[in-house]
Symmetry: D2
Subunit: 377 residues, 4 copies
């Protein structure tokens, strides 16, 4: 019989949208079974929610520490914990489980601040027994990984421009006032929970990770301009950043949570000396490849000239894959890594180090915007 | 604790692509657990494959009849059987399980011939205890169901033109000769297995079902022209059909398995007296709505003006869903129907009756093409 | 000084939309000057309209015969006549001018019926002195000619499927009744003026010409189904046709004038043994090229791998060209042909023979639809 | 008879691409006749080129001053001069003609530097007799003007984000070295000719003008980062700019001439409190309109809900218009303005004041980039 990983969950309770996504992602390839969870600080609520997931009452916890302690003592205790709480608690929860030698899958951002990120990174790197995976799920789309492959194979040449954006409308078209802001934005308005910057920690972190993941470029300096939603609402809502990369490339980064009227969403373009690339999440199964000299190519997931992407696809070309398929790729690879314990194989799931870099980027953006000057990475 | 349905599988063994899709679809919402299977006529192979799915050896069968007999006697026997064998055996397998009062999820086509379809339909309608669902999965995309809703709400007006196509290249760009045809097309070249017409049973059935599912129109007559791949290869490869509907609408239907160079795929357009609609599987989260008088609208899954589609979506707007998400919608609804046993609720999964209609359509196409004349439905 | 061709116009008066298009097309490359015209049977109206085009009063005629007679006697008489009347008079006007040895540019369709077309074709071929060009303008888009080139260069291989459509809504979203039909459709409802079939002569002729122009395939038989707009309105409004080509290819042709809610417009797809092509007029500067084995390419006008299209482009890649640019390509080439009198050079403007073929196609469609059977070409 | 404007040309000789565009634009609506030109400093070349345009020898000049002097003395002298030389001479030529009371159509940029722009602007505003039009031709696309109308009608609400870019590859995919740079970039590498910044004066000026033209927003401060193509090549090749607008909106501006592999081209997005807009030149007949609450709309030129755009369209919806059609709109309106001399009518052609603003923007960008700080407008 195949070994199925026993998964515990922290967060992701009744009001959590991302909770359901994590659970679906864990199920898709049949490599995990959800056995325990800390879904709420209210013990009754945690149990009632757990029962909808078929989790036994005595493994539905109201405190993640008790969960870690208890599960570490059970013979059939969990193998992996998946953390899907808001950013403010990522570090402390991850560290508690890591110290008890649980493997960790954590929702992004890596941590709520750069300070926390550095501590967590240190904790992770010190423990060689555990596997840590970060659900920067957009990086797990087959055609994003194809893009990464094209870059690393030199097909784009020397990168000269990077243009990435993640643009949403969190208020869904509604008018937001200082009065109703708390209702509209919920915990995202509380810096202790959302961390150093709402727009950057919630979606900017994805955009920056995506650009780093594909290009592998190192930044040298950045200039940021962060805007608040409204002077009376404590919420960063728009950030535009210019980036200088060590190789001389120039970058433009834009993220916004008040972009009315559309899910322009997540888009990345990379221009190199040999070709350019464009990928947009709204049309995720295609990757536009524009050679310097030659017709534009539309590479399609798992299709001709995109064989590499087949490694991350479950469905044939012509059959679209989406958000949960990509998310599941991370669960799938973390499972393979835990089960095979083969550190030498190439894994593509986002790592703690990648998380640390995004936290540093956000930290630098805040610093630059406040001081209105270029800041070194 | 929530009741989880115990699922048995017939077919879907090591060489089956669709097998993995069914399994993923069954897992996504956590409403099924795969407990038994008849994966191969080779007992050893069935067991070894079953073990990769964590199925106990004694519930890995090499014969679907023994599986049905055994499972019906177990106290913890399966609740539902999912049939994912090639078309030729759909009828006999489904009937065997239905007679033992198992609920059935069957891959398409409903049956390999119209004769078989009529028999199977009769068996299903006679047994009031069981639920039967047919995985015409394309009909389960959120925006396809949105299209159906717009039609039934009268937003399109009286339908005047229906244009549907499903176009693929089964040989993946390779040259096919009478010599290598068996290798390229596998069982699809054997009429006993693939049924009355390869192109119509394999993909045409989806296109026709989709058009019926959305429009609800009744056909009155059709004129078909079916072409073989090559005179020495016994494989229908192209079918074009004109359809007259009872309400006076005109239809064009096209399906092809030798369309070089692309996954033009599955596309449907419906033109009515008030508006027209377009949906293409390659971009499944959007539905083009063109009012007679007014700007074109791009409706997006779970977004403004497409609230109804949220009922079939797991992910927020701006976050694409794909093929397996749609497939899982059928498993999800069949589970709800079995568990709630509420026959009055509106369910949207494809039914045996819909399967019967597609079999009749294919039957009529073959008849028309042979006789070169219009045939009554 | 460069020789500028003196152009006379028949039709295209105050209420004519196409008249302005012809005039713009004649001006774009500076090879014509409009000197005379027969814009109306009302002499005063013809003069007043002519004066808006700076045409002297005595060269504004109210009768095309007098115009031909008079201009043929003037030393500075016109070199070319452009005919832009409704279809019913194309033959008689063209023949009258041809007999006086004027070069002719004619709007489509070639003639209103196949009978007229055969006569006109005979008149044209008998007169070796004149140049005749037919404004099937869609064939003059740079990327349509690129498509023709790819086909003739063998890049598509042996053609197996042709799919062409031209779909419009002539009533602009309005409800049409037997009562207001004459107001909505104007002369298009009068068979003497519009010819044998409104939808086929007005737009179907373009679609069929386009498919022939690009593929060069010869048809062997067709099966057509033509529908009237409404039983009380004498107007063919929808035609769907299946075509067998001599090389074994299958075709689907669709044209409609009552397709609510959109300008789906003119689209052609060609599938061959090596690749397939797609071009849509709504996005005319791009041509989708799908090789049997390899990524989809988007060829762009005058850009990499589409050098041939530069021959028909005035503007750089990245700078779109449209309908009048294509229309002007025909005027441009006819001028070159007249001025150089080089019969051996490759010209790409549509010819009388191409016009004859479209008239034959329409004739066969009407015959097939009436008799509900396959008709030989 | 209608009054036809007599047009003289300065520049636009044999090697000029833009020269042909201006001439086509002047011809399309039949409101100009080209009568004179200064096409080259070589008298013979000017005459030989002029003769291809049917211009009499004695009106083919080798010096624009002699042209202005001579034409001002002829009774049938030109009414308008169109200047299509490189940027460095725009000011001096325009001023010379304005002082002789000729109307002027000038290619962009308004002037090569802000100093020159201020002088030219002063000259223009002092002469009340003449009409001055600037060919920022992208602003004349029907759907750009539709965008401007939607903004001014308040349909977008208060603008919060502006995102504009114009991205090209001037070297057409070729490798450029310090050695071959002069051959590849021609006069664009000479600051005296191209002006203060190659990328900003040549294409950045279009992008900035477009954003100003549509939004009407006033800038308050900007932060720019300009990059040279290569340290040994004196050519600005990439500029990214953040803009603060007086109303609080944030802007991102990007222009590049070394973006390999594609004509990503000219794109603008505007986000307001009520809706957002997107227009891209590659698909110019459509405008994406995303209401805060409601489905995305695709407005089409001259079609439903875009009636205003019909004012600037020559062709029906479903029939694309392109670059020269837009360019001709400017010639058309300048002609109307000259002929009617109606200063109160709304004209939409770009003005000297708009030209002055773009020159100031470029000046400020250079200053900001050099000093690495925010600069006031």
């Amino acid at each position: 019989m195949k070994k199925i990983l026993k998964l515990g969950i922290v967060g992701g309770g009744p009001n959590s949208w991302i909770g359901n996504i994590h659970r679906i992602a864990s199920r898709i390839d049949g490599k995990y079974i959800i056995c325990a969870g800390s879904f709420s600080r209210d013990a009754k609520l945690s149990r009632s929610f757990g029962s909808t997931l078929n989790i036994e009452n005595n493994r539905c916890y109201s405190n993640y520490k008790i969960m870690a302690d208890t599960e570490s003592k059970r013979e059939d205790g969990i193998d992996v914990v998946a953390i899907m709480t808001p950013p403010g608690s990522h570090q402390e929860i991850a560290e508690y489980f890591i110290k008890k030698n649980f493997n960790v899958i954590s929702d992004k951002p890596f941590a709520a601040t750069y300070e926390q990120a550095k501590k967590l990174y240190s904790t992770i790197t010190k423990n060689k027994k555990i596997v840590y995976g970060l659900t920067h799920n957009y990086s797990a789309y087959p055609m994003v990984r194809m893009a990464k492959k094209l870059v690393s194979d030199g097909k784009i040449g020397n990168i000269e421009n990077v243009n990435v954006e993640y643009v949403q409308d969190w208020s869904k078209g509604n008018v937001v006032t200082a009065k109703n802001a708390k209702k509209v934005f919920r915990w995202k308005i509380d810096k202790k929970i959302v961390g150093s910057s709402a727009v950057l920690n919630e979606i900017g972190t994805h955009a920056y990770h995506l650009s780093n993941y594909i290009t592998g470029l190192k930044g040298s300096s950045l200039f940021a301009d962060i805007k608040k939603f409204h002077k009376n609402i404590n919420l960063d809502s728009n950030a535009q950043v210019m980036i200088n990369y060590e190789n001389g490339a120039k970058g433009i980064f834009w993220t916004c949570i008040s972009a009315r009227g559309g899910n322009y969403g997540l888009r990345i373009r990379i221009f190199g000396s040999k070709a350019s690339l464009e990928w947009v999440q709204n049309d995720p199964n295609y990757l536009r490849f524009n050679p310097a000299k030659g017709a534009v190519k539309i590479l399609e997931k798992a299709f001709h000239e995109a064989d590499f992407s087949s490694n991350f696809a479950r469905v044939k070309p012509g059959h679209p894959e989406g958000y949960v398929d990509a998310f599941a790729n991370i669960y799938n690879e973390v499972a393979d890594r835990i089960l095979s314990n083969n550190k030498k194989k190439n894994y593509y799931y986002p790592t703690a180090y990648e998380g640390l870099l995004t936290a540093r980027f956000i930290h630098n953006c805040i610093h630059s915007s406040k001081n209105k000057k270029w800041v070194k990475f």
